[in-house]
Amino acid sequence: MVDNTVAIAISMADVRAMLPELFLLAAAFTILMADLFIAQAQRSVTHWLAIASLLLTGALVWRASGDDSLARSAFGGMYIADQVAAVCKLFILGSTLLAYVYARPHLKPRGLFQGEFYTLTLFAVIGMMLLVSAGNLLSAYLGLEMLALCSYALVALNRDSPLSSEAAMKYFVLGALASGLLLYGMSMVYGATGSLDLGGIRAMSSSNLLHPDLLVFGLVFIVVGIAFKFGAAPFHAWVPDVYQGSPTGVTLFVASAPKVAAFGMAYRLLDNGFGTPALWPNWAAMLSVLAVLSLVIGNVVAIAQTNLKRMLAYSTVSHVGFLLLGIIGGGADGFAASLFYATTYSITVVAAFGLIVLLSRAGFEAEEIDDFRGLNQRSPFHAFLMLVVMASFAGVPLFVGFLAKLQVLKAVIRADALWLAIVGGLCAVVGAFYYLRVIKVMYFDKPVADAPVLGATDAGFRLVLSGNVLALIALGIFGGPLLTWCMRAVAAS
């Protein structure tokens, strides 16, 4: 008989293992309270406090990941602090940090530069950190909901905008539906295995179960929950509306870090929980369907878009397809390829939205692809930055996107799913079209007469953005260390 009660006796070792999250939680509360007493004119203090807490949390994660004296599992297996979690957390923190830097000049002139943005994102980050460290279905659900609830509110940040409210409403309802499905699936899994602990589920599913069908039944719901979080087709409908409806400053955040968290969630549930040889073919086949649908729908529909944010939303769907390909490959190689894909994607997409912010200014959103017409003549350097981002998305060699796609395709081929690799390759070609179109518009089209001037941004913003984009080239050429890091993390976990 499996012991169904989770005995929690908090010890000092547990607290130490979870120190980064606890620190960030304390910091978030401090900022929440402090923000009340900060005048609007001094709102930058909140900004810097939030950035400082992210940096410190990152440092704690970094230190903890190298400290062998710390427990790798805490709170009775609820919380896991392995290398995969560390990599995910560092990129979640990093891309959130970038999102902060890029969001400020966009939020400020629109009256959205409020403390809520920071506290909500910080709580969402805590949720993501819990999610990628989850060792138990309950803690996974807890982290997921924490992220989701904060995201709903963030999307509605600009509550005077009907578009924002509508997007938030849709997101919330669909999110609630997905969350319900996930919870239902979890209960089925519990029913089948008698365990909520992911390690326990894995152990039980290898033994003779009374109702093995029940486990697969629950697995379908769990896969749907993961697919919703990723935004994989056909569970992607919220993605374009949310990306377009949210203020760009929020899209920056919603589009980047949660993708890494979603990978963490997939890794925890599918590998740690259902990674047995018997179950792998089931979820791999399910994901294959979702991946192909995402690749086709994402790439094809993106072609028809004229709004850059919407185009990037569909492009996200297609990238999720790619990311899923790696997970389908399974094993250490596959998950490492996907982890590499997710982390590099998060910093690429944040740069893309950062460039949109750069071109926007008060009363004007540079959201249409046509707004980028002739950018090269107005600002060659920024056109070049956009070129790099688009080329990286398209998977052009020399840029990191190429390396990421290559790793994923290698993993799929190794898993004997050649047809998936072919579909992925073909879809990447289709996808190149709309990325190249942006480049064409920037370099070969004449700017419209009343071309918008570049938005007012400070030197720090431009410096970070340039560094961010140049990192895409650097990682494309010298991506070895990050790739090795991802591989080691997955192999060690």
Binding site: M169, K170, V173, L174, L177, A178, L181, D213, V216, F217, L219, V220, F221, V223, V224, A227, F228, P234, F235, A237, W238, P240, D241, N282, A285, M286, V289, I297, V300, V301, I303, A304, V430
Partner: protein, 676 residues
């Protein structure tokens, strides 16, 4: 050692990057300072490495520096193989390059593309070093293409001149033919050896001995022959051997310093170097060697003849270069690799000297290149004159000058090959033998037309404005032979390199002929099968530098050269009306030479026009109709249709979205739970 070698290769690259990308920041002065500093560092370190390897007995350095990629059992490396052959090439390349860099300060002084030019030639130096220092075929190919690229850029340096653009395109296309063969050769090496590392390939070379390949069904070819001929096709393109020689004379459209550096001293000898490096493979195929010898002999003799009827000073030197490359190729063909490489070295010095001298004349003549409007320049350009005399004496093979030893070695080697071998080698021997006469004739013709005789130019009275031509301009706006002011000697930055190049043109052979040709200087770098002993006869005749020079006075080549000298002296110095009469009498022959045997016209008509027609046909039939019409626009239409349908599905209604999710869930459940 690795750090030293990396510095040698990368120092010019750094200079090129600074001069190229930051040209506005560093300015003209900064551009030449950084590039010259980079090349000077390379040159000094190369000499140091040469000393270590050649004299201090340091073993051959062969290490991989960086792994570029690994794919399916094959790993591509950046690595250096530095033996005596490489070390010698490094010194030659960097030294000539350094001289040319300094010279350029004077030659390009008024050019608006000053920084760009320095950036290119420094980049060239880097590429050439990568080529010679490589320890594998892939990096060799990288350097091979990189020097080709820079050559293309520099021939078209004055890109506003249509003739320059024509010339660089021609060079590019003709080299594609050669590179295609070269690449196939490299692919064949990879196919049979599974690796591209020189050392491994050479160590396992016997593995392909006796193997055959059926390129055309029913005809078996020996694998070594196929590989070597393919590789040699690459060398033919780069080293401008008949019939791929047509690009080199046209490359004279580029500025003169690069004609000296790229199209005389270094890049065009890459093919020679490559074949010498591949000597272990070439030694396995008599057929390939005979082919090499015939091609080289044809180039050596027949392109020399064209040089007789050229009036453009640079073109004469260019045809002379072709002819000398032919000599080196003949040496390769008769297995006298060390003689080829030795001639490569001496030729690099004296031909660079001649080119730079020609450039100095051109500067003095305000960019007039037609020798018919020169003459009597001796008294205006004393330094240029004397250095040109030295270069000419070296080129024609005057005893005691460097060129004498290297050229004589080739002729003697060809003679002994002809003695032992078949008709191909006999042909090669007579071609190089009578080539000596031709060489002397055109060389002294150039010297006399330029520096001696009557002044055939007029100095216009109007002084005042020191008018200089803008290089990029069309020079047609002033009448030929009319100068704004009298020619004057070039500045020190031009004459010092001339003098510094004149020294090795005279003396380099004194120190190296013994070890390189007779001793075992190249042991380990160059492999000669025991069946061949190309230089045994030469070694027998050689008893010291001076003794051999004296011995040379009694040999046939010397008297042939002397005959050329005497004929040129009579025709161009004492009886200047005579050449015109001869020309009229031999009109049909002269026309053949002026048309360069019709190669250019043939290629123009057959390949250029043919490919334009083919291209147009494919464009109309294949591109517009099938690819654009059916495939591109057709698939685009399908995608567009699909996109609009899917966009319609993204209706914006929440219940549609939720419905899609539920449908997805049910489909998954259906597929994985109920059906199974």
């Amino acid at each position: 050692m690795q750090a030293t070698l990396l510095t040698i290769a990368l120092a010019p690259l750094v200079g090129a990057i600074i001069a190229g990308f930051f040209r506005n920041q560093v300015g003209r002065r900064g551009a030449h300072i950084v590039t010259i500093a980079g090349v000077a560092v390379s040159c000094l370190l190369s000499m140091h490495v040469f000393k270590l390897i050649a004299f201090d007995g340091l073993p051959t350095y062969n290490e991989n520096v960086y792994t570029w990629f690994e794919a399916g059992g094959y790993s591509a490396h950046v690595g250096f193989l530095v033996d005596r052959l490489t070390a010698m090439m490094m010194v030659v390349v960097t030294f000539v390059s350094l001289m040319v860099h300094v010279y350029t300060i004077g030659y390009m002084a008024e050019d608006p593309g000053y920084q760009r030019f320095f950036s290119y030639i420094a980049l060239f130096t880097f590429s050439m070093l990568m080529l010679v220092m490589s320890n594998n075929f892939l990096q060799l190919f990288f350097g091979w293409e990189a020097v080709g690229l820079v050559s293309y850029l520099l021939i078209g340096f004055w890109f506003k001149k249509p003739s320059a653009i024509f010339a660089n395109l021609k060079a590019f296309l003709v080299n594609r033919v050669g590179d295609f063969g070269f690449l196939l050769g490299i692919a064949a090496v990879l196919m049979y050896f599974g690796t591209l590392d020189y050392a491994t390939v050479f160590a396992n070379r016997l593995a392909i001995d006796g193997k055959t390949i059926e390129l055309v069904a029913g005809h078996a070819w020996a694998v070594p022959t196929v590989i070597c001929i393919l590789l040699f096709i690459g060398a033919m393109g780069k080293s401008a051997q008949v019939p791929l020689h047509v690009w080199l004379p046209d490359s004279m459209e580029g500025p003169t310093p690069i004609s000296a550096l790229i199209h005389a001293a270094t890049m065009v000898t890459a093919g020679i170097f490559m074949v010498a490096r591949m000597s272990p493979l070439f030694e396995m195929s008599e057929t390939a060697l005979a082919t090499v010898a015939v091609i080289g002999a044809t180039t050596a003799f027949f392109t020399g003849l064209i040089g007789l009827v050229q009036n453009d000073i640079k073109r004469v030197v260019a045809y002379s270069t072709l002819s000398q490359l032919g000599y080196m190729t003949v040496a390769l063909g008769v297995s006298a690799y060390s003689a080829a490489v030795f001639h490569l070295m001496t030729h690099a010095f004296f031909k660079a000297l001649l080119f730079l001298g020609a450039g100095s004349v051109i500067m003095a003549m305000h960019h007039e290149q037609d020798m018919r409007y020169m003459g009597g320049l001796r008294k205006y350009l004393p330094v240029t004159y004397w250095t040109a005399v030295i270069g000419t004496l070296a080129l024609v093979g005057t005893p005691l000058f460097s060129g004498f030893y290297s050229k004589d070695a080739i002729i003697v080697a060809a003679q002994s090959a002809a003695h032992h071998g078949g008709a191909a080698f006999a042909y090669a021997y007579y071609a190089v033998l009578f080539g000596v006469f031709v060489t002397a004739l055109y060389s002294f013709r150039l010297l006399y037309l330029t520096f001696h005789g009557k002044e055939r130019f007029v100095v216009d009275a109007q002084h005042g404005d020191a008018h200089h031509d803008d290089h990029g301009d069309d020079h047609g706006h002033h009448e030929p032979g009319h100068l704004a002011h009298a020619p004057h000697e070039s500045p020190l930055v031009v004459t010092i390199p001339l003098v510094l190049l004149a020294i090795p043109s005279v003396a380099i052979a004194w120190f190296f002929v013994q070890p390189m040709l007779i001793g075992d200087f190249f042991a380990g770098s160059i492999f000669v099968d025991i069946r061949h002993a190309p230089l045994a006869h030469f070694a027998k005749e050689f008893h010291g530098v001076v003794a051999f020079a004296l011995h040379g006075l009694s040999t046939l080549p010397f008297w042939l050269a002397f005959a050329g000298f005497a004929l040129a002296t009579y025709l161009y110095l004492f009886n200047p009306a005579m050449p015109g009469r001869i020309y009229a009498a031999l009109r049909p022959l002269a026309r053949v030479l002026e048309n360069k045997y019709g190669f250019d016209d043939l290629y123009q008509a057959l390949f250029a026009r043919g490919s334009v027609l083919l291209g147009r046909g494919l464009w109309r039939g294949g591109d517009v109709a099938v690819i654009d019409g059916a495939i591109v626009n057709g698939s685009a239409a399908v995608v567009e249709r699909a996109a609009s349908i899917m966009r319609w599905m993204q209706s914006g209604y929440l219940y549609h979205y939720a419905f899609a999710m539920i449908l997805g869930l049910i489909a998954l459940l259906g597929a994985f739970v109920w059906i199974e």
